[in-house]
């Protein structure tokens, strides 16, 4: 393979070698089912590993270990909390269909789950978001209804990286008697995520966004009685989530959480500087360029820019030819030929949305990667603009 500068860490990240090493024995000699720990020494090894991983994840988000429920990733966690919490509160507290508040620019795991609830007769409000890419807590306050049972607003947007005022929104939700969920897939291990400081009842995160393996994540559940199980099965995870534990994946997630917590302060500073340097260089070499969403209230690993007069598709392909991997919308809807729903929700017109690219960074991103991108991208923009 030729030189690859990977600037798509918001889509996924490579497994850290230390994470991989920690996972390895759980595929082979430590293969046992952790649920057999009561009578099996090998089961106990697996059980201990799962519980250690749980403690590591809890430590990353400031929760108690028994509030960390392992899932298959962010999408499952989002599906589960929306469907499980809205249904339970509606059935047991309201005795009629409840109301969910979320935002127009959420990940499709939330949006499509919300639409599924709507089809089943629940009420849903999709909050509009302005050019800043930041939800106004007052808009949530105005959307609250007597039957609002859940508010779900992402901690940081996956395309533009803007950080949401979750603590304030959680207060609004609680004042109105609703529970609060945040999708922290883009923030966990990147900025401080503390479930108590945020005041949330539920929080989703996914291992592969911070150098853990794919296929494993968690839902933080403050109170086990606040939602119905989503995957019914054996008694795993306090009966909240059936299915044999993905032990190796869980061990990997735990290790990634531990490393993420250790690295966070340094990485926050490093990636912020690196991101700003790239933007400054691009802005000095390309005219008619602007960031999408607020640049200050933004996760360090995200840069989303629109470049007037170009279509992002040929730009991304030309970048790929030059060895630079980036994204248009998010990887999850890379197959859409339509413009990003996130950018149109914050007020970009279709043309602006289609002239935008997302560059995202991670632990593996180096200064050289940034310099190469800053060197190559302006020439490709000139190439495309020269055709018009």
């Amino acid at each position: 393979m030729n030189k690859v500068v990977y600037l798509d860490s918001a889509a996924t990240t490579p497994v850290d070698p230390a994470v991989f090493e920690e996972m390895r024995p759980y595929f082979t000699e430590r293969f046992a089912n952790p649920m057999t720990f009561t009578h099996s020494s090998v089961g106990e090894l697996a059980h201990t590993a799962v519980e250690e991983a749980r403690e590591r994840v809890a430590s990353l988000i400031g929760s108690k270990p028994d509030q960390v429920v392992f899932t298959s990733g962010g999408t499952e966690s989002d599906n589960w909390v929306l469907k499980g919490a809205v249904e339970r509160a509606s059935r047991e507290r309201l005795h009629k269909p409840g109301h969910l508040i979320t935002a127009e620019f959420e990940h499709h795991a939330i949006l499509h789950s919300a639409l599924a609830l709507q089809r089943q007769g629940y009420e849903v409000t999709f909050i509009k978001v302005g050019r800043s890419g930041i939800v106004d807590p007052d808009d949530v306050r105005h959307a609250m209804r007597p039957n609002t049972v859940l508010v779900s607003i992402m901690h940081a947007n996956n395309e533009i990286g803007t950080i949401q005022p979750i603590a304030e929104i959680a207060r609004v939700a609680h004042d109105g008697g609703a529970l609060m969920h945040t999708d922290a897939v883009q923030t966990a291990a990147h900025i401080a995520v503390d479930v108590n400081a945020l005041g949330v009842d539920f929080l989703s995160l996914s291992g592969h966004k911070f150098n853990g393996p794919k296929g494993v994540g968690i839902l933080f559940v403050r109170d086990h009685e606040s939602l119905y199980p989503f995957i019914d099965g054996g008694g795993q995870e306090w009966g909240l989530r059936g299915s044999t534990h993905n032990v190796a994946g869980i061990v990997g997630l735990g290790k990634a959480a531990q490393l993420g917590k250790q690295r966070l302060p340094g990485e926050l500073t490093r990636l912020t500087a690196l991101r700003n340097r790239l933007y400054d260089k691009l802005a000095s070499r390309i005219d008619r360029i602007a960031p999408n969403g607020d640049m200050r209230q933004r996760v360090p690993q995200n840069l989303n820019i629109r470049i007037e007069g170009i279509d992002n598709e040929p730009l991304l392909l030309a970048m790929n030819e030059a060895g630079i991997i980036a994204a248009g919308g998010s990887a999850c809807n890379a197959q859409e030929t339509l413009a990003s729903h996130v950018l149109t929700s914050i007020g970009c017109d279709l043309k602006e949305a289609k002239s935008s690219i997302r560059l995202s960074f991670g632990y593996m991103t180096t200064d050289n990667d940034i310099d190469y991108a800053a060197e190559v991208i302006p020439g490709l923009v000139r190439f495309l603009r020269s055709m018009a």
């Binding site: 279509d311 040929p314 392909l317 197959q335 017109d349 279709l350 603009r385 020269s386 055709m387 018009a388």
Partner: protein, 124 residues
């Protein structure tokens, strides 16, 4: 969305005939904000035969590559032969353009047809 062929990528990375014709016989112009397309297609016609074709384009990869192929095929063709060129043929030259991209790539043919219409209205 399917992947683009290598032929399409090669074509769009070094497109033929970008530019404009100073004294065109016909010009076709298309703006579509929803598709973020801005296309101007120029033809030069001599004795009913196209002698030159150029274009200016802001648009997607498929459209750039399709315009490039189309512009190379036009010189020497009568207007009738030019009007007979379709997406099936252009897609074949590009070693298979993903079908999801045919609508957008079709602006190339529309641009040519508008330029031919313009030629007819000028000579009427």
């Amino acid at each position: 969305m399917d992947k683009y062929s290598r032929a399409t990528i090669r074509e769009f990375m070094s497109p033929s005939n970008i530019g404009h014709i100073d004294d065109p016989s016909g010009v076709g112009h298309i703006t579509d904000n929803a598709d973020a397309v801005e296309l101007t297609f120029f033809i030069k016609v001599d004795n009913g035969v196209i002698t030159d074709a150029k274009y200016r384009i802001a648009g997607c990869t498929a459209l750039i590559a399709t315009l490039s192929v189309l512009s190379r095929e036009l010189p020497g063709k009568t207007l009738e032969q030019a009007l007979a060129i379709d997406m099936n043929h252009l897609s074949d030259v590009l070693e298979g353009l993903p079908e999801s991209k045919w609508r957008c790539a079709g602006y190339a043919i529309q641009g040519l047809h508008l330029a031919i219409d313009d030629f007819h209205s000028r000579s009427a």
